[in-house]
């Protein structure tokens, strides 16, 4: 009775039906197109092909020049070392904090600190740290002269130390909150409470039990974020300009220097360096994979040994993790406080802990000049966030309406823009945007920001979107509402809080972008971030304080709105309070 087979999927209104199913594909194209095209656009000049600068055909000369640079071995070693150290430290700290404290009241406090810490842009956090640890920074002032005997700032290379230690520390303060957030998301899916209780009932101490039972499940889910942290730490530019060593700098910073050099022939060398940076990141990811395998093997042996863990040692470990985590958070918070004080400081001589006078003069002097970069920052971030939200919602709704199921492999694609080093494709993206005539404009910068904003918006919205109870949909449809009305009148209002949070995340990501703004904007699009980082070399702490605070405020304000707005809108709706 083949004839009796009836199609279950009811026919949908045809109006938008032929556009919406393409949304996921369009989203991928917008996100990955610039990455792939940019990589090709970098590879060509690296192999000597850049007709605009007189390079045609294929040659290895750019790589020969790159390898002839005496600073290369050190720059490469720095990139690898900083990347691995920052990633391993961040992961270890996050793991121990979760193993020691997940589910406790202390952990609840840590969770509440997370969003504000995450919203501080990398550059602002790095400046804050610099204000603290510099030889004339707050820590030295607090110890001088009574403990250190210093009447002058000591001649120590703490900041921008040649080994990159302050850079590692700066990265850890920002990557710990990020990894912690990702781990929290994984924890809500794994529901570790019961497994941990079973382990504890079998006599395992808390941390050992958590590491043996929960960690393997969690790590599987945070692998991509960890890879993103590794790739980012290896190739970061703005933080490395502020905190990293100078002679030589990390490879990524050197590539950007060559790219901004008035001598255009250095572009070939820069492209070769960008390709090498990509190779380094790939090598780093491969090495990390090997380390994963080794740790997994050791872990299996440790689990098979049945060791229960010693309570006293574990208490020390728990305490240590908490202290280090608090230190990382404190560094960011105290750094921001330092910026506030510097931005209001009159005369402030070295060993003094406080400035002689508090004045608004710095704000009066730099404030008027802020308005241009502020507007530029808000317009770019607003546009990139709006586009990212639109594409994300269209993709999620298309999946919902047309029963499309994203493959698990699709998640890799989402992380690709966060893993491919920015220098490696932005340079090509810049060349291509010159070729297509959108060079140096705000529109090109918005598109470049969208590449990085989209993954974050998608990642933060997709879980709450899918967690929404589908029976709400059935109920609303059974009451006669079509899919559009269900979306606008039921689903989006109910998901207002995660929507606003996703928007705030996207906005903060855009505000913090340094390299895409600098390279794609060809140096002509001035945002708070590019202006602040440009001040790094000058060392005028009052100006830096003003710009870094403005940058932090631009990133933080949307988070505050995202928390406050639902509270005001739903003040009479008890059921929406923790939704």
């Amino acid at each position: 009775m083949r004839a009796a087979v009836s199609p279950i999927a009811p026919s949908r209104p045809a109006r938008r039906a032929h556009l919406l199913p393409w949304a996921p594909l369009l989203t991928l194209a917008v996100m990955l197109g610039p990455v792939l095209a940019g990589l090709l656009g970098t590879l060509a000049p690296a192999l000597g092909h850049m007709p605009a600068l007189g390079g045609t055909g294929v040659s290895l000369a750019p790589f020969e020049q790159l390898f002839a640079w005496p600073g290369l071995p050190r720059a490469v070693a720095l990139s690898l070392g900083v990347g691995f150290a920052a990633t391993a430290l961040s992961l270890a700290l996050v793991t121990l904090i979760c193993a020691g404290w997940a589910g406790t009241r202390t952990f609840g406090m840590i969770e509440r600190l997370l969003s504000p810490l995450l919203s501080v842009p990398h550059a602002a956090a790095a400046f804050g740290l610099a204000f603290l640890i510099a030889p004339s920074g707050w820590i030295a002032r607090a110890l001088s002269p009574w403990a250190s005997g210093w009447a002058q700032p000591p001649d120590l290379l703490i900041l921008q130390d040649p080994a990159g230690l302050s850079l590692v520390f700066g990265l850890v303060t920002k990557e710990v909150p990020f990894l912690l957030l990702m781990t929290l998301a994984a924890l809500t899916q794994v529901r570790p409470g019961q497994s941990l209780r079973v382990a504890q009932a079998l006599g395992y101490a808390r941390v050992s039990g958590w590491l043996k039972v929960i960690f393997p499940m969690i790590y599987r889910q945070i692998r991509l974020p960890v890879c993103a942290v590794l790739a980012f730490s290896m190739s970061v530019v703005d933080v490395a300009i502020i905190l990293g060593p100078n002679t030589p700098p990390t490879l990524a910073v050197q590539v950007v220097r060559w790219m901004s050099d008035p001598d255009l022939t250095l572009r070939f060398q820069a492209a070769a360096g960008a390709v090498l940076q990509l190779g380094l990141v790939l090598l780093g990811l491969g090495l990390w994979r090997l380390m994963e395998l080794a740790v997994a093997r050791l872990g299996r042996l440790w689990i098979a040994s049945g060791a229960r863990g010693r309570r006293r040692g574990e208490q020390a470990l728990r305490g240590g993790a908490l202290v280090l985590g608090a230190l990382a958070a404190l560094a960011v918070i105290a750094g921001l406080a330092g910026q506030v004080v510097w931005s209001l400081a009159g005369l402030w001589q070295f060993p003094d802990f406080w400035p002689d006078a508090v004045t608004l003069r710095n704000w009066q002097r730099h404030g008027p000049r802020l308005s241009g970069p502020v507007t530029e920052t808000l317009v770019i971030a607003g546009a990139a966030t709006a586009l990212a939200l639109l594409l994300t919602l269209a993709s999620l709704e298309a999946q919902h309406r047309h029963g499309l199921r994203p493959a698990t492999r699709a998640l890799w694609l989402l992380y690709l823009p966060l893993i491919v080093p920015q220098v490696a494709f932005l340079m090509g993206f810049q060349t291509l945007s010159i070729a297509t005539g959108v060079d140096g404009g705000r529109a090109a910068v918005i598109l470049a920001h969208l590449v990085f904003v989209l993954p974050y918006v998608f990642l933060s919205l997709s879980d709450p979107w899918r967690a929404w109870d589908g029976r709400q949909d059935t109920i609303a449809r059974a009451l006669g509402a079509g899919p559009d009305r269900v979306l606008w009148a039921v689903r989006l209002p109910m998901l207002l809080r995660p929507l606003l949070i996703a928007a705030a995340v996207g906005f903060a990501v855009s505000v913090g972008q340094y390299l895409p703004t600098l390279l794609v904007g060809a140096g002509r699009v001035a945002t708070l971030t590019t202006e602040a980082v440009a001040l790094a070399a000058g060392g005028d702490r009052r100006a830096i304080g003003v710009y870094a605070l403005a940058q932090t405020a631009a990133a933080f304000a949307p988070f505050a709105l995202a928390v406050l707005l639902p509270r005001v809108l739903w003040r009479n709706r008890k059921g929406m309070r923790d939704a």
Partner: protein, 213 residues
């Protein structure tokens, strides 16, 4: 064609891979109740999803479901005119009680005053006069159940599905709400299909009982 009235299952079979979950060929007449019982996983909710048009594509279905003669299979959920009540009321938490009812009231009732009057009347009918401005989260379980029922009825469904609709209510309230629902369905001549694992629900419905699984 008087025999065309009601909810009719024509050789309906639902399967998952090779396993056949449900086979049904019957008619629920206006005002009649069919109770489907079975343990969880026996496909009760799958049957309801097939009727509302929200069946997961992993299931394969053959046969035809008609409501008052209309073939439902080609219609989207919102055009099927099937009312459904779940164990949870699913009152939209962001809307007031009145706005929840307005969501159900069909747009053909025009004019703000006329719509408000219909909603007020629907609330008064179940002893909730003056509740339109309330936050649904502040209602008691029995009040929520009555609001959910009225919201559904304002959409003027032609059949009623009950998915364990009473299982969260405690015994006293349960009998009361159940009586209200079945009385209303009988008065409005709605065919009712309920799935439940509770025998008292089946007994209260009084109609035919099909056991799955």
């Amino acid at each position: 064609m008087p025999e065309a009235r009601g909810l009719r299952f024509e050789h309906v079979a639902i399967s998952l891979g090779r396993a056949r979950l449900i086979a049904l060929d019957c008619t629920i007449g206006p005002g009649e109740v069919l109770t489907v019982m079975g343990p969880s996983g026996s496909g009760k909710s799958t049957l309801l999803a097939a009727i509302t048009g929200t069946l997961d594509p992993v299931f394969a279905m053959t046969g035809r479901i008609r409501l008052d003669g209309r073939d439902l299979m080609r219609l989207p959920t919102e055009a099927r005119r099937i009312g459904i009540l779940f164990q949870d009321e699913y009152l939209f938490p962001h809307l007031s009680v009145g706005a929840n009812l307005a969501f159900g009231l069909k747009p053909e009732v025009r004019g703000r005053a006329a719509r408000r009057a219909r909603i007020e009347a629907a609330l008064a009918e179940v002893g909730l006069a003056g509740f339109a401005g309330r936050d649904p989260a502040t209602l008691s379980g029995g009040q929520r159940a009555r609001v959910a029922l009225q919201r559904m009825l304002l959409a003027e469904p032609r059949a009623l599905l009950l998915d364990e609709a009473f299982s969260k209510l405690d015994t006293g309230l349960r009998a009361q709400v159940r009586e209200l629902v079945f009385d209303t369905a009988r008065r409005r001549a709605l065919p009712v299909l309920q799935v439940t694992h509770d025998h008292s629900d089946a007994a209260a419905a009084g109609g035919e009982v099909v056991v799955l699984g």
